[in-house]
Symmetry: C4
Subunit: 194 residues, 4 copies
C-alpha cells in the first residue's frame, strides 16, 4: 500500500482540526478595541494550537514522506496520532472557557504529550516496517528532538501545577523549539532524491 491516501486523509483531518478552532472563538461582545483586548488570551491560545497542529503536520509530512509504503499497523498508529490531535480544539476550548484554570491547562499539556507519544509510536511502526537498515532508520538515527519533546510536555504540566501561565509559557517555548527547521531529515530526504 502506498502512502498517498494516508497523507490525504491526515491532511484532511489536520486541516479541519486547525480550522474549526476558529468556529469556537467567540467574537467579542462589544465592537470596540476594549472588546478585542478581552479576547486577546483566546487569540493567543488559538495561535498556540494553530502552531502545534502546524508542527505536527510538518513532522508528519517529513516522516511519512521518507516511508515508501504503509501496512495495517502504520494505518492504526496514524489514526491513533490523529485521535489525540483531533482533541486539540476540545482542550483549547476548555482552557478558553475557564480563563486558563489549572486543570484545563494540565489536560491541554496531556493532550500534547499523548500526541507526541503517538508520533513516536507511528515513527516506530514505520521504522519496524522499513527494517533496521532501511532509509527511514538511517534518516532518523540521531534525531533527538522527537524523543525529548514528551519530557518537555511533562515539564510544562509540572509547571502548570505551580502556576497555569507558567505551564503555558513552557508549551509555547517547546513550540518555538520545533519551529527551528528539521535540517537533518530534510538533508537526508534531499540525498535520497539526489
Amino acid at each position: 500500500m502506498n502512502t498517498s491516501r494516508v497523507e490525504a486523509f491526515s491532511d484532511g483531518v489536520l486541516a479541519i482540526v486547525i480550522t474549526i478552532m476558529v468556529l469556537e472563538m467567540t467574537a467579542p461582545e462589544e465592537p470596540t478595541w476594549d472588546g478585542l483586548r478581552q479576547v486577546l488570551p483566546i487569540f493567543l491560545s488559538y495561535l498556540l494550537s494553530f502552531v502545534y497542529v502546524g508542527i505536527f503536520w510538518n513532522n508528519h509530512h517529513h516522516l511519512v514522506q521518507l516511508a515508501g509504503k504503509v501496512d495495517g499497523t502504520v494505518l492504526w498508529a496514524n489514526l491513533h496520532l490523529l485521535f489525540w490531535l483531533s482533541l486539540i480544539p476540545f482542550s483549547t476550548r476548555w482552557m478558553q472557557q475557564n480563563e486558563f484554570a489549572q486543570v484545563p491547562v494540565l489536560i491541554y499539556g496531556l493532550d500534547l504529550l499523548l500526541a507526541a507519544v503517538a508520533f513516536q509510536l507511528l515513527r516506530m511502526a514505520l521504522v519496524r516496517q522499513d527494517g533496521p537498515d532501511g532509509d527511514l532508520a538511517q534518516a532518523l538515527r540521531g534525531e533527538r528532538k522527537g524523543k525529548y519533546s514528551p519530557v518537555l510536555y511533562l515539564t510544562g504540566m509540572g509547571a502548570t501545577l505551580i502556576q497555569p501561565w507558567l505551564g503555558l509559557a513552557v508549551y509555547a517555548a517547546v513550540a518555538l523549539l520545533w519551529l527551528l527547521p528539521q535540517r537533518r531529515m530534510e538533508r537526508k530526504a534531499a540525498e535520497l532524491e539526489g
Copy 2:
C-alpha cells in the same frame, strides 16, 4: 474513470465526519477533575465513533485500492455508504445528550448496521464491475468478517433492548474485532503489486 477522485472525496467526507464530533463535545462546566469525570462517557462514545469511522476508512481504503476503476453505480454505492457514515456524528450526539438511553443507542447501532450493509453493496458493485474472475473477486473470496458484521450489529441492537450499556459493549467488541488487521486483503494487494 479512475478511483483517485472517489478516494479524495471519501477521504474528505470521512475526515470531516471524524473531526466534527469534537465540535459537539461540550466542555465540562467546571474546570475541575470532577467536571472532567462527568464528560468521561461522552469521551468514550467519541472514541468509539472515531474508531468506527477509522475502521470504515481503513476497509474503504483496502477495497477501493483493489479496484482499478469506478462506474456510475459504484459512485452512488459509495455516496450511499458516505450517507450513513455522515450520520454517525448525529447518532453519537443523540446518545450523548440523553445519557445513552435505549432508543438513541438502538439508532446508533442501526446507523452502523446500515453503513455495514452499504459497504457490502459497494463491494458487490465493485466486484460486479470487475467481473467474477477479476482480481477483486479473488481477493475477497473467503473474506468473511464483512459478511458477519451486520449480524453482530443486530446482536448489539438486540442487547440494547435488554440494557443500553450491554448494547454499547457489543458495539465496542465488534470494533475490537475489526481492529485486527485485514491480513487476507493486504497479502493479496502485496501479490498484485509484486
Copy 3:
C-alpha cells in the same frame, strides 16, 4: 494548468458542504421513537440535500475529467458554482427551522437553480477553452439533461407558490431523474481512454 488542484479544492468544499448539514440537524428533544418521528422531515430534507450535492459532485467529476486543463475563466466559473452549492446548508436549515414554509422552499429551489445555471456556465467555459471541435464539445453534444434541469427547478419553484410540499416533491423528482447514470459521458470517457 492541469485540473488536479481544481478537483481537489472542489472535492474539499463539496465534502464539507455535504457533511456540515449534519451539524445543523438538531437531535430530537426526547430520546423516544416519537422524538425521532418529529425529526423525520429534517432527516428527509437532509437526504434530499445530500443527494443534490452528490449529483453535482458526480456531474462535476464527469465534466472536469473530460477537460485536460483549466484557465482563469474556468477557475472562477468553478468558484461561482461552489458559491451556490456552499449555500445549500444555509437554505436547507432555513426550510427546516420554519417547517418548510413557502419562502424558504422557494429560496431552496432558487439556490438549486443558480447552481444549475453556474454548472452550465462552467461547462461553457470548459468547452470554449477546449475549442468547438475538442473532445469535450463532442462528448457533450446531445447532452440535454443539464440544459433542461434549470427549467425543472423553475417548475418546482412555481409548484411551491401553490403548495410548498408540492415544490419539494418536484425537487425530489428532479433529483431522481439525475440519479440515472450519465451513460453518454461515461461512454465517451471510456472511448477517450481506450
Copy 4:
C-alpha cells in the same frame, strides 16, 4: 520535497475556511421576504469573504504551481498565510454581529492586509529557494498587483476611519481588481510547459 502535500493541505484549509462561514450565517428569524432582506448585508459580506478566499486560493495555486519544490521555510511561510486566512470567518462574523461597526470593519481589513503581507512573504521564500534566475523569479518579474494590494487594504482601513461602509466599498473594489485574470503568470506557466 515536492509541492503536492502543501497544495493538498492548503486546499483543505481554504475549502474549510470558505465553507464554515455558511455555518455562521444565522438564518432569518421570519420565513418571509422581509426576513430575507434583513440578512442581505450578511449575505453580501459572506460573498465578499468567499471571493477573497477564492482570490487567495487562485493566487496560491498560480504561485505554488510555478515552484517545483518546497523547503522548511516555505512550509512555515505557507502556514503563516493560512493562519491569517483562517481568521477570515472570525473577522467576517464579528462584522456581521455588530452591523458593520468601525472596529470590526477595521479588523477585517487588517486581516486581509496581514494575509496579503503573508502572501508576499511566501512569494519571497519561494523565489529565494528557487534562486534569482529561477523560473519563478522570471515569471514574477514585473508582477505588481501583489505588491500594491497591501497599500490598497491600508487605504480601505483609512476609509473605514471616515465611514465603515466606505471601507467595505474599498475592500470590494480591491476584490474586483483581483478578479481580472493573472495573465502574466498564466502565460509564463504555459511557456514553461510548452
